[in-house]
Amino acid sequence: MIVGKTRIQLEARLTSPRWLIVAVPVLSVLLASVVGGVFLLLTGHPPLRTYGDLLNNGYTSFYGLTDTLGLATPLICTGMAAAFAFRMNLYNIGQEGQLYLGMVGGAWAGIALAPHLTPFIAVPVVLVTGALFGAAWVLVPALLRARLGTSEIVSTLLLNYVALNLINYFIFGSRGFFRDPSTPFPQGRMIYESARFGAFGTTNTYPTLLISMFLAVFLFWFVRSSNYGYETSVFADSPSTARYAGMNSTWLTTSVLLVSGSLAGLGGAMYVVGPAGKVDPGLLQIGLGYAGIVVAALARYNFVAVILTAILFAGLRVGGSALQASSDPVPIAIAVVLQGAVLLFALGGELFRRNRVVITRVIESHQVMVGEVS
């Protein structure tokens, strides 16, 4: 691009300095706040005070932070689900649906199996069942992708709508197994108490947070050190190299998608074990599945970073909701605008991590355009 006598060019970096890895996300959050600030000004809310409230409600107050951690718990799961598949270039964007199915599976286990189990293993059974249901929801897209090369993006996305309608049917459309029989009001049937975790004190944080954080650290180690992680990196980099080395691509593709689905399903089951205790259509409004994709992208598919980005996002959501309920209500949409802006700036920042901007002065020499040359 040439502006006046100055030429602005992007040049690929041969090495990225380490400080940029930190600077880019920090700057993207700051720039996103500026953009959000413009929206706040336009809607007549003082940006600084609103941000102060947001920070306080989302992160810096005790209950704000514990609410945020509670919401981050399933978000870490869907973030890991996206990261696990995306790092192998398998774009499972059906975390939303897999999360709902995890909720359904968890609730089923919590109602049907829990009475026959000792309390000690009831919770793990609920969580594992939820994970299995999440995996089952991605089984068909996984097999289609592995066997026929069908785009998993389309199939997993469409199944989200099926899952959504399934939940609505269970609670609103039928008097079936998952609906509370004791009241005409449409709500889910509670699972057995023995299959639930209590919250930490009076907070909204549950022990499941520790499980999802532990899983994230484990996966961080697993993909780097295990043969399975190694094979997926080779396959992601070059499928033809994986074939050359005799790796089983059908197995790799299928298993990665199943693990991804089970992680999202686990997130749904954690919601059942923790705050909800039932199939809760209220979860549908939060969009934890899609947010997981954003969380994974911001973390650049690094599982430990997923913990941090999930907490960042959950805080925006919690703080945003609190603003809505304050004396000077700020629409929740502003939090969504902020989320979107953070993502856009972070992805845009990647450009500057990989390239540097070179500004040179154009020196006009007496070069001539020759019009007619025979």
Binding site: S225, V234, R243
Partner: protein, 513 residues
Amino acid sequence: MNASSEATQGSHRENGATPFALSARNVTKKFPGVVANKQVNFDVARGEVHTLLGENGAGKSTLASILSGLYRPDEGTVLRNGIEIRLTSPRSGLSHGIAMVHQHFRLVDRFTVAENVVLGSKGLTFVLQPKDIEAKVAEVCEKFGLPLDPRAVVGELSAGQRQRVEIIKALYHGAEVLLLDEPTALLAPPEVVKLFETVRAMTSAGKSVVFVSHKLGEVVDISDRITVMRDGKVTGSVKRGGANASRLAELMVGREITLAPRRGKSDSGEVLLSVSQVHLSHDQIKILSDVNIKVRGGEILGIAGVSGNGQRDLAEVISGLRQPNKGAVTVCGVPTSGLGARATRKAGLAYVPEDRLGTGLAPSLSMVDNLLLTRERGFLVDRKSALTEAEGFIEKLEIKTPGPLTSIRKLSGGNAQKVLLARELFSGDMSRVLVVCSPTRGLDVGAVEAVHTLLDEARKNGKAILLISEDLDEVMTLADRVIVLYRGKIVLEARGVSEDFEAVGRAMAGLSA
């Protein structure tokens, strides 16, 4: 103009009476991390064939791209008939009569020859008039002796014919100076001869041709002048008759190199690889028919042939990646057909595929991770021993890399190939059979020598090597025996050194010997 054999430093020379058709003056072009051209001077006279010779990465393609308008120089100027011009795009180059034919053709497969030729020209009628266009294209074909049917669909043409389409396209658009980038890379020997005839026809019509090449052998015949580049600089310029292959090679690599053939000592080793009566077809199209091969320990069997005559499929069948419809493959006495790649490797086969970065190596992963690729791995990967191994290879094979943890993509082609060969030759269980495909394609002369030495050493150590290569020179330099594959069949089996080079060349082109 005397034909002295002295190389003149650069070719910076002003010619008062007749200006050069095209010149570069003090051209410098930088890319991130490299200076591709440093103060380069280059002149092409009217009616001459001027070859730009150099190793890969010497900067010759960059120079050609600057001369044709694809790149703009950071410093320096381009002159056309002695007048400074400023090229902003290949189209502006064409408006000055300069056209470049790229190594990888830029044609639309589904269009006819005529449609491809007129593509991009101004002043076409809204509704195309195919008959008029075809007539005009046929006219150009005839004028320069380029036999081609204007109505043929490009997708069905051979590489040589496609190249002709590119040349016709340039001529149709009024090109006076043609830059041909590695024009012989995809051609069989008889097609090269035809190309040279075309080039001669063009120069006698007063047009200038710039031949960009790294193949020493063939450019000596065709060129009126050869300018050699190394590391972005012009190292010398030699006129016709003054060129001597070893002197040019020295200018290219900056030191003396040997191009002498290498042979194994005896053929008394035991048969380590045998392929018997292998047939392979895909969608009812025969790819391999009745292929029989035996390779003994301590010998290199060369398979020559133009790309696409079943060589790659044969390599995949032998390495267990594909299953033949009929026939058997035996590696070190173990029948391996149908067992898959891992089992075949276990039986003692190492395989260096043609596509080294996309198949043999995982380009984004490190050298350490790439060494792990063909190893037996447990639940956890053992990077420590691979790291030690990588450091050993870097030292022993003089692999130029920032370190064993740098991704392979950042290595030059030659160094990447060294990593691949090191893994396949020395890593793990020390396989006894090696299948190598086009091991030196795209490598510079120095790297070619290193690869050939590695293969020669492996032969001396008693390995059975099957060398599949399109580069006939390479096969003739290294192999103890040569087989020519044409349309999936063995059409010629040549024993020993003395076999006629020309017979192999003819067999490659499908002409009966």
